[in-house]
């Protein structure tokens, strides 16, 4: 298979995968290009024991991680801790969570629900989003995520806790209990 055919068959899927994790279009485009260039050079290494798509995604993951690490080396403005605003000075809930209705099995198939998830996910700071994507979306073990992001376990736990707390809060406000809304 040549470059043109790869672009037709895989570029969109690779781009979406990269965009979820890198979040800037230009970064995702560059990662796709680097991946296909690397694949072209390494074509002989493709053994055909996995699908071509899986092989390309594997390369893409390395390109994404390289970018995330490069980003991590440039100083970032400290992420504010507003995710933890849910608890007051006493450390207890300001707005105690109430049980959500609905079956998670159904949620997984509900396109509208995933639109909300995407909107909530877009509100996460970059590093929290990257940690959450690797740990939960890709279901990698925590120590593997630490290795890929080059961070300590404590660091990872803090980021995941903030990411989950934020997602939960956002979904509660926008999906499970919208003000005056009609969602389940």
């Amino acid at each position: 298979m040549d470059g043109d055919a790869w672009v037709d068959a895989h570029a969109d899927a690779l781009f979406r995968y990269a965009l979820t994790r890198l979040r800037r279009r230009e970064d995702a485009e560059d990662a796709v290009q680097e991946t296909l260039l690397a694949a072209l050079t390494a074509k002989r290494d493709f053994r055909g024991d996995s699908s071509e798509r899986t092989w390309l995604i594997g390369i893409l993951r390395h390109k994404i991680v390289d970018r995330i690490r490069a980003d991590a080396r440039t100083p970032v403005v400290a992420e504010s801790d507003e995710a933890m605003d849910w608890c007051g000075e006493t450390g207890n809930w300001l707005h105690p969570p109430k049980a959500w209705q609905g079956d998670p099995g159904r949620l997984a198939e509900d396109g509208e629900f995933w639109e909300r998830v995407r909107a909530c996910f877009a509100g996460l700071p970059d590093r929290q989003a990257q940690a959450f994507a690797l740990r939960v979306m890709d279901d990698l073990p925590a120590d593997e995520v630490c290795k890929q992001l080059d961070i300590t376990p404590t660091n990872l736990w803090v980021m995941l806790h903030r990411a989950r707390t934020r997602l939960r809060d956002c979904l509660e406000r926008t999906w499970f209990a919208p003000a005056g809304g009609a969602s389940p």
Binding site: G3, A11, T90, P97, W100, P104, F121, M137
Partner: protein, 89 residues
């Protein structure tokens, strides 16, 4: 004293998340169990985190991308990549 057993929800929520990524120490497990028995809000929180993660896992198991597909590459980027792959600058 109440607060010795019943530490703040902030700490309970931290442990509820942490146990997904690392095994808790035995004292952490015991204190969390006590807290969860006494606190409706943290029980709801734990169920909600479960709901979110279960939804992500089922989505992955069904082979669907975790998040809805955004539009793919735009035409200009596609053309740029094609050119590069053909060995152009």
């Amino acid at each position: 004293m109440m607060h010795v057993l019943f530490y703040p929800c902030r700490e309970a929520a931290r442990l509820i998340d942490l146990r997904r990524d690392a095994p808790l120490r035995i004292d952490q497990r015991a204190r969390l169990a006590v807290h969860l028995r006494m606190c409706d809000a943290c029980r709801a929180f734990a169920d909600q985190i479960d709901t979110i993660e279960t939804a992500f896992r089922r989505r992955a198991a069904a082979g669907e991308p975790a998040l809805p597909t955004s539009p793919g590459l735009d035409a200009a980027a596609r053309e740029r990549i094609r050119t590069r792959l053909r060995g152009g600058a």
